[in-house]
Symmetry: C2
Subunit: 199 residues, 2 copies
């Protein structure tokens, strides 16, 4: 079966619509999807940015917020801007990485729906705990796994891998042959490629 | 009839495939298109950039060149990187603005095909003269119009208008109600909006 990786960052606006639609889209392409949470912070820092480029460049930020609103409207997704933006996504990323398979995907979709659909601060531990409980998981047990040295090291390794792949933003669809497709608007193209129809 | 504006910069890689396909696409959407050449330099300068972001941020540049190659391959367009990149596009923009209607569109497509399809230096006056001659135009007469004070002032006004519209990159499709769609990959969405199907 064809495979692809979905690389996403919880603070990323465009990762929100992508996360909400990528599983179904991959299924319809016959592509098995691996969910790979990572942090854009280190990648942005390597470009000299200490904040979201949407904050550093206000005109770019204004465009993005209008653009993401149109995208969410077209998909029937609610959009409420979290405050502050971007949210600190470290805990959410560690938790997602500590979960596996469908649990990771389900948790990730819930984080995005809470953060950008409801505008709630996913940087807060108590909120992540509520999301975990809703999935039938024991928050304290999951936090223990998420904040273990092994899982922290794994997230660092994932970030290094993202940089190595040439990932410069989120979301990205990465195919088995190393092609990187950046953006919610490139999911279809990336999945076509993964399915062998895009070369 | 529905209308839309196609804002493009001759130095912009993504404007190349967009310019080669936008006329047919607008036609199939029933949208009358105005071609509006402008310069990204002043817009980038307002963000503190003195060069293409694809040069300032090498990882972004590597991604873009791979991405544009995939796009051109899918469209059957040749791609050769001009040297240096980006090309100085001032003369081409002035000439395009001095032409009207189909002549402007035809000249613009020829510039892109020469620059990115053949990798030739469109910054050079002699090359622009050849392109004008191929269109049956008198290069010296057109250069006279292009470099008149009135036309230079018009290009400055167009750049100011682009900034006012919130344009932050090229190409952009701008609809009658002021919606800006940035990117070759947003032409369809912008034309759907212009045709009243995208709200």
């Amino acid at each position: 079966m064809a495979t692809a990786e979905f690389w996403y960052e919880f603070a990323s606006t465009y990762s929100y619509p992508a996360a909400m639609r990528v599983a179904e889209l991959a299924g319809s392409h016959g592509v098995a999807l691996a969910w790979r949470p990572f942090l854009l912070g280190p990648i942005f820092a390597a470009q000299g940015w200490r904040d979201s480029p949407f904050n550093i460049y206000p005109a770019k930020g204004r465009y993005m917020w209008r653009d993401i609103k149109r995208i969410c409207d077209a998909l029937g997704l609610p959009l409420i801007r979290p405050d502050p933006f971007p949210q600190n996504s470290l805990l959410a990323a560690r938790v997602a990485l500590a979960l596996e398979g469908e649990q990771r995907a389900n948790f990730s979709r819930r984080v995005y729906a809470t953060e950008f659909g409801e505008g709630l601060p996913i940087a807060e531990r108590a909120l992540i705990a509520v999301l975990l409980a809703k999935l039938g998981l024991d928050p304290e047990r999951v936090f223990g796994l998420a904040e273990s040295d092994a899982n922290k090291a794994l997230l660092k390794a994932e970030n290094a891998r993202a940089a190595e792949l040439g990932i410069i933003g989120a979301p990205c669809l990465v195919t088995g042959d190393g092609e990187v497709f950046w953006g919610n608007d490139r999911l279809e193209q990336g999945l076509d490629w993964a399915a062998g129809k895009g070369a």
